[in-house]
Assembly symmetry: C5
Homo-oligomer: 313 residues x 5
């Protein structure tokens, strides 16, 4: 750690310092005393929940730091916890011959890049802008499983809604919708940040590496398009769910109506001839009961046929 | 195949290489060893599901390739499978005296252009920017049948919904809506790509060909306008469907109410005179049954007339 | 017709050629052999259903045409057929000393302009940019009756919906909404085209005529604002319609409930004392029937009063 | 009136001509013969229902007018008639030493400004750009009462909807929504016009007056923000209205169900023991009627308690 | 107070004047006679309910003031009153060696900054642009508790809606939605204002302080993103609420239908054998009552089983 100041003076070398959950003293030592970064970028780095952004710091008279890019990026965690994408903030200080990464939680993209660096020192490890690209590429790649999981979850929801919509499903749909919008809001500013790299805005990124950054930008663009597609799907699922649920009430009312209408002839006849008037000549006729039976059965069958014809059941 | 390097040195000639589902070795040989394309464009070419885009590659010191445009375009397949537009990715490498097309599935636009080239060598085949235009024109033309099919499907849906809305129709409408939005998202970035050609941004496309590219752009613009029109139609159909479905429940409730109200007088009289009180003077009167019949029939007809007047049936 | 080539050489004169539904040979002769227009603009002119647009063609080495503007504009037909605005495509070739108009159907704006030209040769007929303005002005003016008709139709719909909403009305509302959006999509690109004239972008339009073109643009702007207003009105009408329709079901259910609740006391008493238990002391009391009558009437009036108080009818 | 030409030649003086509903001859005389305005601006001035706009006219060779701004602004009338904001068109011709205002109806802002001019000749009356600012300020100020009235109307609606929603209220809400959108569409283009003044685009407005125009722009900006707020409120009120109305139907159905369920035990017992079978041993038992009474009352109380527990009433 | 004019002449010193609810005379004295601010900025400062904005005033010939920025910012109050965020307007006059703040109510951010100034004179108090930054930072920080409270309120609402939705909840949801939109409309123009600082547009803010202003801008950006997230949550909650409420009616109808259907067999049998025909052979059979009991019970159990199978309860 105390070698860093001397290493930095050697312009042939390139230094990558990864600070994973450092103590405040470590952070202060590296960021302030070794690299002399601008106090504002240090503050943004140390506090959590910063917006993804990129800022160019060029030294003014009296400043001890060499020009660098300060970059805040959000990595997305694969195993979503509590139905919300867990995002890890990752801070970059990218200079001409150094790269400082700072994160309070282990980020898989960083580990993967470190491995790649150790394995193939020739290709990547020579320049900080190359390593930074590999890091960004790995981090953006890690969005894929999160999107896949979301995709599967939505397909699941769609099947369940069509087959057997329950009350709990609405919560799930609304929850997924919120997640997708959250994801889009995560991707949005990062796309913005990377579009600045893709346009080759920064001199610290050498021109022949710009297409590589554009590639990362393209991936992010595609992810946000996919997220938009998920959003549309969920809107459709919600519409189907609400309609099925309203259709069910319609079916229940239909059943009630059918039962009421079909039993109506019987009820009319039954109630009417249950009256106790002394003079009800029909009651004493021999075949009047038979007639009542026939009449009742007949009109019941008639209403039955009527409903059948109108395809009520 | 081994003639290509020599053919390329002849600046008078123009070479079109079409790679249809090549083996990795073939692809590597052509793209890397013959044309020495930038590794990033080769990677974008070989992987699938890239976003439509156009990138200009100009050689820097040490690069072996001559300047070229790298273009990713999505062709749409006519016979839609599984209710989703099948899109085939088509990659272009467009240089001053060469055109390399790469696709993993047969694309009809490519076949059509090849035929046109063989037939009329004079007009098209002389320059890569002309062939590229013909290719793009053919591919964009292939969107037409897909749009036609969609248009007919929507007209069908509209008729069915108005005549006899069933539960399955909602799924179809939502599905079609998703398709249309998918189509718009396919067309969107391609329009973006072609607008750059139409503005004459690239020097590899000769100025007098720019109006031709603008024509392809116009066609895409119109397609996306039509897709927007389809979307509006489907929103209208959905609204009609949901309303018809809610109207049906309203009708069922109406029927229930009519039956209940119409039988109410009879039920009142019938139930009332079914009581077994010893002292019910009306029961023994001579004409009280007749009166009951008249009263019941009268009020039934009255409610009947009331509903008729309010146009309930 | 064979005079045209000679007429064109006279730079003092100005030639307006109106091709109304010409045969392919006529079109080819005029567009290709007399004026030598760019093949692409000829193609766009001859095919139908092109997007409104304006393109500037400046001759390059070897081109035989003099600089001209190619303009596609959609005229709207007054008597709308089948609930859809009929649009007629009108193509302009506007040069320094010629104006060629091409349309397959008679356009009233063209006829009107021709009449104006014949009547007042001094003011308009001298220059192609003046005639073109008059043409555009006449065509845009023809949107007014279409908008008026739409406006009246919407006012009609509003009245009908509030007074007596029927099932067919929903279709009409949705249909009108689609029409209005269609109209906006027609006006949109034309406004775009005319805004380029209004900004004085083209050198073929003399500076002192630009305010006149700006005037046409203003009219189109106002039309699209009015169309937006119609759209809002229709959204409001739809909301009222859907609410009235749902209110009706609510009223029906209310009626059902009122009838059921009001007859309940009678049904309870009637059914209860219709029982045939041997030991029902109440049945034999002298005034128990009277009591039953009073009780039933009393509670019926009570429920009646209750509904009256809660303003159910 | 005939002094105007001579007055205009005196460059020290400033002339404000207000044409309120002039005869065509008066208008022609002032606009054409005294000021020689561009015929297009005269036409826009005379016809009604022009869009708010500002146009700069600079004389070209042969034009007799001095440079001027032509401005169309809509004043809003306080006492809204027929639920629609009445707008009065006000046309300005603003030159270096003259201001011509033209309106067919009396506009209070003009009257107020005239009074201010007469009272304090020093401050305002000296320059046309100052008077124009005062005029615009007064006109924009007159939007305030209209907004206040709208605000009160919306607060009223909100109270009424929460307390006692009637069927007529929906019409009112939809009507108010349309009004607010209409108002926003009125304010929109005027804001656009004034933003051009606020940016100091016109040389006829002296630089030190630009902040004053920016002030008028700020007021318009705030008004359109408030209109947006009203729109959101009305959307919320509509949602509450629709929900209350659907809740009422729910309540009615609840009542129906409660009555039906509560009377069910009595109906079962009553109907069952009304049967006339010869062998119904229960009928002759001594305490069976008592049992029936107890059973019926018991289950009725049970259902009653059940509904109470589930908080149905 | 009378020292101010003399203090101002000392260019080494920096003067911060805080006017908290001054009398009109005080305000006039400081703003007009000491600093000679532009009358328009004084007016904007004194009136209430101005839009957040920043304006640069540079003295012209005859003006007595030195260049300054006029800034209107809205502070948000922590303890929201009446369900609406209370905003306090805070006006800044920021010059090279002075800062005048004007507010009619006590603003906590101002108090906090004053304390910071008194405590650490070295860091902040030296320059007006530093103090202004600290002020803005403190004010923007005060948005946090308001956002936290809103966040908790929304979480509360969500829980209540899922557990026990009452009628009052709809009002609360709609109210919260309005609040969130109000908050977004408050933040919006302030973000706009601060983005101009963050871009380093003003010369009065020294270049090395621009990143600090960018930091304040970032915070506002994040707040408006969070507000957007709250809005989405509330839309989801509303959807769940409306669905639960419609589901409840569905449940009620289900109960009604179940009761009706289950009692139907008993009603049929009971009503039918309550008829008084003389010749009803079934009535006199020995086991016919038993049969009736068995039949009724059987079909009742059957319907019961049917509903159980279809999971109606």
């Amino acid at each position: 750690m105390f070698l860093m100041p001397t290493l930095l003076t050697d312009t042939k070398l390139f230094l990558w310092v990864d600070l994973e959950d450092p103590t405040p003293e470590e952070a202060r030592f590296v960021l302030e005393e070794v690299f002399h970064f601008h106090p504002l970028s240090i503050e943004d780095c140390v506090i959590e929940s910063a917006t993804p952004k990129v800022e160019e710091y060029t030294p003014k008279e009296g400043d001890q730091f060499s020009p660098y890019l300060f970059l805040v990026i959000h990595a997305v965690d694969y195993s979503r916890t509590d139905g919300v994408f867990a995002t890890n903030e990752l801070n970059f200080f990218l200079g001409r011959n150094f790269l400082v990464t700072y994160h309070s939680l282990p980020v898989r993209g960083v580990q993967a890049t470190a491995n790649q660096c150790l394995r193939s020192t020739v290709h990547i490890a020579r320049a900080p802008d190359r390593v930074a690209h590999t890091l960004l590429d790995n981090i953006v790649d890690n969005y894929k499983p999160a999107l896949e999981e979301l995709s599967m979850e939505i397909a699941d929801l769609e099947n369940q809604v069509v087959q057997n919509p329950t009350k709990e499903m609405l919560n799930k749909i609304v929850e997924s919708k919120k997640e997708v919008m959250h994801l889009r809001r995560i991707i949005g500013p990062q796309r913005e940040v990377l579009s600045r790299f893709a346009r080759g805005e920064f001199k610290l990124i050498r021109a022949h590496l710009v297409p590589y950054y554009r590639d990362v930008y393209d991936a992010l663009y595609q992810f946000s398009e996919r997220a938009q597609g998920y959003y549309d799907s969920l809107t459709g699922i919600l519409q189907i769910y609400l309609n099925i649920s309203s259709n069910q009430t319609g079916e229940v009312v239909k059943l009630l109506t059918i039962i009421t209408v079909i039993t109506t002839p019987l009820m009319i006849v039954g109630t009417w001839y249950g009256m106790n008037f002394t003079h009800m000549p029909e009651l004493d006729h021999r075949f009047s009961y038979l007639l009542a039976v026939v009449l009742t059965l007949g009109s019941t069958l008639l209403t039955f046929w009527y409903f059948k014809k109108r395809k009520w059941f």
